[in-house]
Symmetry: D2
Subunit: 486 residues, 4 copies
Amino acid sequence: MRIRTSADYMDSLKQLSPVIYYQGAVIDDVTTHPGTAPHVRSAAMTYALAAMEEYQDLATAVSHLTGNTISRFTHIHQSTGDLVKKIKLLRVLGQKTGTCFQRCVGLDGLNAVYSVAYEIDQKNGTDYFERFKKWLIHVQDENVMVVGAMTDPKGDRSRGPEHQSDPDQYVHISEHRSDGIVIRGAKLHMTGAVNSHEILVMPTTAMSEASKKYAVVCALPVDAPGVTMIFGRQANDSRRDLRETIDVGNPSFGAVGGEAVIVFDDVFVPREHVFMDGEYDFTGSLVYRFAAHHRANYGACKTGLMDVLTGAVAYLSQAQGAAGGSHVKDKITEMIHLSETLYSSSVACSAEGCSTPSGAFMVDTMLANVCKHNVTRFHFEVARLAVDLAGGFIATLPSEHDLRSEAVGHLVRKYFQGVDAIPVDDRIRIGRLIEAMTGGTAMVESMHGAGSPQAQRIMILREGRLDEKISLAKSLVGIPGKTAGR
Amino acid sequence: MRIRTSADYMDSLKQLSPVIYYQGAVIDDVTTHPGTAPHVRSAAMTYALAAMEEYQDLATAVSHLTGNTISRFTHIHQSTGDLVKKIKLLRVLGQKTGTCFQRCVGLDGLNAVYSVAYEIDQKNGTDYFERFKKWLIHVQDENVMVVGAMTDPKGDRSRGPEHQSDPDQYVHISEHRSDGIVIRGAKLHMTGAVNSHEILVMPTTAMSEASKKYAVVCALPVDAPGVTMIFGRQANDSRRDLRETIDVGNPSFGAVGGEAVIVFDDVFVPREHVFMDGEYDFTGSLVYRFAAHHRANYGACKTGLMDVLTGAVAYLSQAQGAAGGSHVKDKITEMIHLSETLYSSSVACSAEGCSTPSGAFMVDTMLANVCKHNVTRFHFEVARLAVDLAGGFIATLPSEHDLRSEAVGHLVRKYFQGVDAIPVDDRIRIGRLIEAMTGGTAMVESMHGAGSPQAQRIMILREGRLDEKISLAKSLVGIPGKTAGR
Amino acid sequence: MRIRTSADYMDSLKQLSPVIYYQGAVIDDVTTHPGTAPHVRSAAMTYALAAMEEYQDLATAVSHLTGNTISRFTHIHQSTGDLVKKIKLLRVLGQKTGTCFQRCVGLDGLNAVYSVAYEIDQKNGTDYFERFKKWLIHVQDENVMVVGAMTDPKGDRSRGPEHQSDPDQYVHISEHRSDGIVIRGAKLHMTGAVNSHEILVMPTTAMSEASKKYAVVCALPVDAPGVTMIFGRQANDSRRDLRETIDVGNPSFGAVGGEAVIVFDDVFVPREHVFMDGEYDFTGSLVYRFAAHHRANYGACKTGLMDVLTGAVAYLSQAQGAAGGSHVKDKITEMIHLSETLYSSSVACSAEGCSTPSGAFMVDTMLANVCKHNVTRFHFEVARLAVDLAGGFIATLPSEHDLRSEAVGHLVRKYFQGVDAIPVDDRIRIGRLIEAMTGGTAMVESMHGAGSPQAQRIMILREGRLDEKISLAKSLVGIPGKTAGR
Amino acid sequence: MRIRTSADYMDSLKQLSPVIYYQGAVIDDVTTHPGTAPHVRSAAMTYALAAMEEYQDLATAVSHLTGNTISRFTHIHQSTGDLVKKIKLLRVLGQKTGTCFQRCVGLDGLNAVYSVAYEIDQKNGTDYFERFKKWLIHVQDENVMVVGAMTDPKGDRSRGPEHQSDPDQYVHISEHRSDGIVIRGAKLHMTGAVNSHEILVMPTTAMSEASKKYAVVCALPVDAPGVTMIFGRQANDSRRDLRETIDVGNPSFGAVGGEAVIVFDDVFVPREHVFMDGEYDFTGSLVYRFAAHHRANYGACKTGLMDVLTGAVAYLSQAQGAAGGSHVKDKITEMIHLSETLYSSSVACSAEGCSTPSGAFMVDTMLANVCKHNVTRFHFEVARLAVDLAGGFIATLPSEHDLRSEAVGHLVRKYFQGVDAIPVDDRIRIGRLIEAMTGGTAMVESMHGAGSPQAQRIMILREGRLDEKISLAKSLVGIPGKTAGR
């Protein structure tokens, strides 16, 4: 791994020159700009952990292609053991950052494209798989961060890609050249995009023959000509941008992954980095595998976040002298219960994974969908319970500026002191952490990252093997044969 | 009513000179300071509505003391009809502001103190009721805005007022003078404090004889010597403070009521404005009546907010071409169902209200507690559904500055366009409104305003008449007599 | 009222000779047959209450047609006060019987037909209203029990009445005669049918012109020639049929209303008892008004049942020495909270009722639908909590026969004794009551009586005034004009 | 395995002569008595499956003691693979029986006692482990069915074993003899007791020194002198007892496991079958291990039941022509989602299991508790959804006797026919199956089997490692050191 440490990662980002806009201005250096720095630090934790003895087993793996020790975030899963270790790694990272650390989206892209490229070649005699492996070895050896770019703007949702007023609402090949392709369009909600090295473009949904030009997979550097990024707003971003410390809540690592729009304005991609070019019949598979991996992950990283939130609330209850209340204990119990319920599905879909024809391991897709679907419920309930136990003060606390002001600082300290044994500053810091982890952007991300709830419900029904279940019921009451209805 | 219109109200605030800090600096004029102006405009709506023909019946009442037409926000409820009209007024105001309009806290304080002052006098032969009526007529005739000040800091929750390390953790009488009293301490989470005219101080909980000095009710102007306010932070307050328009979400009226800490640093209150002085045995009653009225209100104003949120989500679904989906309709149905369930309890506890000895009408306390308790659940669920239907873009939208920038504004417009018929600006504005109404401060306020969930549960069990219910069950199965257990 | 007392009611039933089958045999006398007697006793409570001084105000009313004092169960609501009194009456009856007392279905039919008959006449110049009033006076003066017969079998739900393979799947007019009509078909789930005096037939859904012959409303005696009833099974009906006392749970009043299929095999109805004959354009209205009234009721009678269940569980907790546990108190609090939430909507939709053109008062339909919809959720949750607190013994208790046997009775008594102060028999009786009130039929009835959940959701969305809500949201963010989407 | 097949099992039961009472009379042969026969058939399925090629891998194992192929229900888990296979076996058995098949309670007892006996010996130098292994080999070789007997009556729950008025409220050693012990007391809710071969007695809770005599583990035959069983009532048991076929719902296998009270009236147990005698300090461990294994199982067997229920509802929707409705599909999706969420925890706690000192593998105890806790919620919600989709007819269906009667059978058939393609009998049978699986006993068993909800919450909090979580939160906001509160 060329990029080994957190510092290596920072340096490597400085070598790149992506075009990034934020708040109407250009960001020159994502590692130092206050708007992006916390997100960079969070991603850097994925490098830092791999360098620590204690986490080697979780954070690194041995490449099945080169035999080299690589970051697990660039590994193609070779067993259910690999899948489970990844889950544990994600929970630890969630615990250590309290937020999104961004790199699993690239990992899931690598695994999805790897297995599908293999299957395209098997069917069509193409050479995508070899191209992809070459690029993958580069990713593994360099240990670059890849942003998996899937979600298109989609414009009018009641129409497919080919029926949009603006054809660019879905990323597509605008031109075939002898040495490569030209792509056009945009990807939204791109987690970690501004601090990644490369982009792995994938289609956003299953395509039909009519939308063949939208069936494209390819890789390109973040600073390829024609690529423009616009970094999105987050809840309370100005606290971060103004380099406040307490009121940011989680000042080191931010509230979410740091999402951006990536615009492709006729960007050239050389042939060797094109891994799908019109094979629309494989888009469904690709999207589904990516989604399943990604949904599996949410039950682990979010459990890590909930661990932090549970701890924060427990500590705040102590600070307020309320920790002994039976209803306080009961609500904390519920937070733990919901967290571990989520975690269960992450573990289960990994332990029940199976091999694809390429040898890459997939999670159990039913359980992975169930996992993410519960995130969209339980994370909100856990946040609600945290808000309940935190008390109203997280909505009315005077600002850090008041806390430090000569005029009223002593009043803030006097009247926000809880039990004697815990400093008022600690109480306020923990309050701000809870505020940051339960409000706005953080929760929206949990709802929609890795697919909105309805996307999971569709898959859960599709994979529910209803016919088999009907047979079980009929058999118990002695109804013979196959079901007659629809 | 001296203060009749929204403009009168603004003018009247300019006559006052309260000491207000925010972000480490002083606020000179709350009507123009960007941090407070939206909250002032929201409170002003309570004046504006009373001046509109259409809402006269809801927004005004006839004083039972003077026969004058007064604002309903200064009225002592004389019937269940009054209670129901108030509920309807609050829902309309919630619909028109999309946020807290602050004045019900004073109204509830007036009604609670009125009835309890009467009862103290009946028992003790004191003259609190006459004093209070005099002040009340002033409030009605002037139409001043009163902040009901109840919540003390409380320090270490495992100890009562008299066992705190710092005696000021609860507001108390620090000195009795011949012509009045001196009070000391602070009140937290004071909704509308910075743009009220007067403060009605009330105890925060039932006091015992040992905490007699904490049993104090009195009224004073917001700019009385020794009063200092510190205005609290809210989610995304800097968007508001920087006078952004779109990204604020609800730029006219703000996200919540605008809460402040009020510090009383040995403030003198003349005798004629003291309405309780040591009668600790009436504190329980006072707190409970205030709380019941206030809890009743939450089912109305929050329903108004949910009406807005439901409309916002429905419109956004249209903008995204998703309004026809069965799951979209189903979730909107659920939002309406939960809103109307809340509203039911507001109406029911009002329609089932009854008279106190003073003639002031009280809501049914069981149903009022049930009402608020459901707010702490259903508002969160409605917000969760709104976030679900809104989609991830409310967490990743580029800022207003980007939207307006020459460099990337056209890209934002291009890629956030939904259906052709709805302008991209509208989609973004509605998205930002949903962001503001579902994230952070707005939700915390719903949880804790008018009392945290556990406060309601205690009352629900206490009022549950368990012995009668046990008798019903025993009677059905033929068990004679009274219950033997505890 | 000719039938005044519970005894009068019993006698009156003996005068009738309906054709009733149950368990493959004929029931001769519903007042003494063990399968129907408890249900008769439950209905009789509606007569008994009217005869008790204490409940006169709730249980009786003054007829607006005759000025006579009548049973409220035969009254046309003349005010919101009437609607609220009805609600209170239903809760009391639920508390006193612990089950369905059946008579509100007829009451709701009377009120729905009254107002719609008036409107048909206004439009078409027919004389249904006069006919109906005549019959109504008879109902009031005699104080007969009327079964409101609405639900048709419906066969294949994906097709309308006129497209069924069997035209009898919906009740219809099979022949017009000079002096009346002949009807054919069946009604399912007919609560109280076997112990009613008369049947009020109504259409089950809104009809179109093509299904005009299904648009029929008429009244007939339960023993009219051609009418056959088949009494349905219930959970644990054999315990009742075998005249057990303890194991029945609620031996006096049964588990539900006692539902039957009513078959109309070409039954003649004289003209003066026909109140709709083909006016398909009024069927929607009729069904909707009936449903709204009926849905309003469920929040009251079921609250009465939940009061009993809460009391039962509280007493059982005492018997087991568990009443002091914080989780026990918390679950009982939740049971009360959910019960009172339900009750709120019953009260609210009544207090917010309004007059129809005929002068008959209607409940607020939105809130009535919300009310019933919550029954389909909260009654199950209350039952779940009851099962939680009751403990496993309600699923494994030896039978009453064992309790009384010489061989093992002493062992049952020894090992099911709880705290010393409460007899083991009492514990068992209360356990059996909880078993009966939480299992099977009782819960199914709560789900589907007055319409299945989806029926309410359709109405909640339809009445949600989404356009107004959209305007509220647009107005707040400054979007002008009317919505462009659909 | 001596007892290999279902028929062997039946024969073996006939060799025993346990004393069993039911409905006040003696049961002579549990294999033919209608009250017990379905439960016997359900347990027999555990034998039948082991004899089928297709299920060999799941249903059998290789004994680590003898190397023989044995039933998995007598196996000591040697790996996480074993734990996962057991989970899969339980789901299949749940699918094939639609009810409890009873044998896991003995299996969990074997595994718990095995590991604890080893640890007692390690500490105290006793020989319980050798004794137990000898008995275990007998259990494995004979393939006997063992009932794990844990739950004591407990009398007054507010007092411990040694403070009960009646010392027999907890099973205890009433006498030590030279060759063994004499035990006294009773065990409640004993699943499968009447059709087991042997009883494994275990303490019901952690004992202190003062309750040392209650710390007893031993094995004895079901027909040992002094053992009396009383078989409990179930919902609708008379339908079963009267050998009805359709109305029983699940006529082959019953509604639950068939629970009984086992009374020990001074029963002698020879020393070689005593595996704990006073080692109170190991009772906590024993109970906890048994409970954890048993809680893990519930997520699997109940998922099997929910698979059946989901299939039943899906088929019924087809029969009613309703399967195409979006709300129908959505509710079925929810049923699947909840089922698979449950299943996740069963798989996860198994895959994350670990070895005890004895080599026997334990499940992850946190996830096992989480698993069972979700059963107590989700099974009820799945049942509620099933009742919703089934429609009211499962509460009002005429009986099987009516269906078959000459007088009205044709009417029942005519009016309960749904779509043409599905016979009316099938619709009724499926309706009855849903009725049986959602009402009464079946649900109570889900709530309390393997421990009531509060038992799991206590363990979830205890294992929640709150201190570590607090450290995570403090670390993120820069608070040093250890927590100061309590």
